[in-house]
Symmetry: none
Subunit: 248 residues, 2 copies
DNA sequence: GCTTGTGTGCGCGTTTATGCGCGTTAGATT
DNA sequence: AATCTAACGCGCATAAACGCGCACACAAGC
């Protein structure tokens, strides 16, 4: 049996039953538990199922249930991202007003944020807001239309709210980072929110792994010099030398 | 059985019955009380149920009085709620701008909403917004501070956003419904959001099971005559006769 | 034929989940 | 208000699940 077929079989079993254990899968497919675990990891990363302790559940079930602590752990071995987030989180100061952009990297950042006095976090992502609230942080959500794919808020309401705020510092993700093209995002509306939020922030940080350097996405939201980049891993020499790039 | 499944089972048992004891859960699921307690702790932290001495209650029940005991147990009239929500959902018309209040009853309502042309839903709850987006509804979220307990948005930003909107119709939950005291909520800030959102809505509906009639919570957000009540079950005769009460 | 890469199984140290015992505490009873 | 009982939380022990490294098998490419 092809590995690919086995993956599909797992997905359909999970879909049909709602949830299955590693053992059940191992027996049904005639491979060891190790292999099943690796498969589940792959499928979880591809967002085709949700891996949980002991087995896997379908996404629908996991979505209502979403155990927030489990997903993070799945790719926790990504040392780079962990280090980046730890470094970034240390930049938050007491009594400050902090903006957190939507995106998977900033989501990871939330888990590292310290419990400081009188800090308020503002975000354009409902998912991020929930996580912040779970960690008992003072949390403010921008208004606006909810984009289902990214759970981010966009549109005039979001922008209008931002216009009333001024942040001490903020953290953004970026799909592309290039010296000439600056920071770029895949979507016009989201780029607009990023642009305006940056405009209202004193200390601006982009957190990203090394893979984004040299990449260019459709819509620019800031110049390369507009933010300090916190990154890790194999950063191209050209960028590593720049004084607004911090490699950890 | 997967631990994850057990958590789901607990939630659905709590939702259906309104409240359950640790013992009942332990017997039903074939684990010890210790495990159930740990599960309840997890679920309570995730705001999926409310843990109380002796067992757990659904969030909405815990809301009326902060620490209630398991003494008087009543069914949440699951059927009633379903009928109420189905009736309410039928009131949404195409090409309308609809407000959905936070709360467990309105959450259930979302599952019944039809896919009509050109309907936009606005809500003050991040949880509700996620569900709406999952169902591919056009969804707008009010801004504001996120209250962790209820996942509702409150404060000046929420109110400012509401001031720019005018809804064709809207649906609210209410902790108390009484002829003299009107509609009441447990929290000042949430009551304010309810009040302002109602003020900007043409057709106002409160959806509630019969148990809320005669109850009074601390903060009033509307007069009894301000909304049409959609309810079911054993409504006191005094209220059943009123012409803004629809019993299904 | 040899190398290279991928997928799988196995062993081992680590983490997580569960059950049990015991001292403490919250509610009910009087 | 005093007392009593059941629920509670904590620590510990155990077993299962887990992740990782390594070895081997097999296939593809030079």
């Amino acid at each position: 049996m092809l590995a690919e077929d086995r993956l599909n079989a797992i997905v359909s079993m999970v879909q049909r039953a709602g949830s299955v254990t590693v053992q059940e899968l191992a027996e049904a497919l005639g491979v060891t538990a190790s292999t099943i675990r690796r498969d589940l990891q792959t499928l979880d990363r591809a967002h085709r199922i949700a891996k949980v302790h002991g087995g896997a559940t379908s996404l629908e079930r996991a979505h209502v249930t979403r155990d927030l602590t489990l997903n993070e752990r799945s790719d926790l071995h990504n040392d780079d991202k962990e280090r980046i987030c730890a470094r970034a989180a240390a930049l938050v100061e007491p009594e400050s007003f902090v903006y957190i952009d939507s995106g998977s990297t900033t989501l990871r950042l939330i888990e590292h944020l310290p419990h400081l006095e009188d800090v308020t976090y503002v975000t354009d992502s409902v998912l991020h807001a929930q996580r912040l609230a779970l960690r008992d942080m003072r949390t403010v959500v921008l208004g606006g239309e909810l984009k289902p794919e990214t759970e981010a808020l966009v549109g005039p309401d979001a922008l209008a709210t931002l216009d009333r705020y001024n942040f001490n510092c903020g953290f953004w993700g970026s799909n592309g980072i290039a010296a000439e093209q600056g920071f770029t995002a895949p979507d016009i509306e989201e780029a607009q929110v990023k642009r305006i939020s940056m405009r209202h922030t004193a200390k601006r940080f982009v957190i990203s792994d090394a893979s984004k350097f040299g990449m260019v996405a459709p819509v620019k939201f800031a110049d390369f010099r507009d933010a300090t980049i916190i990154t890790a891993g194999e950063v191209p020499a050209k960028y590593r030398a720049m004084d607004n790039v911090i490699t950890v």
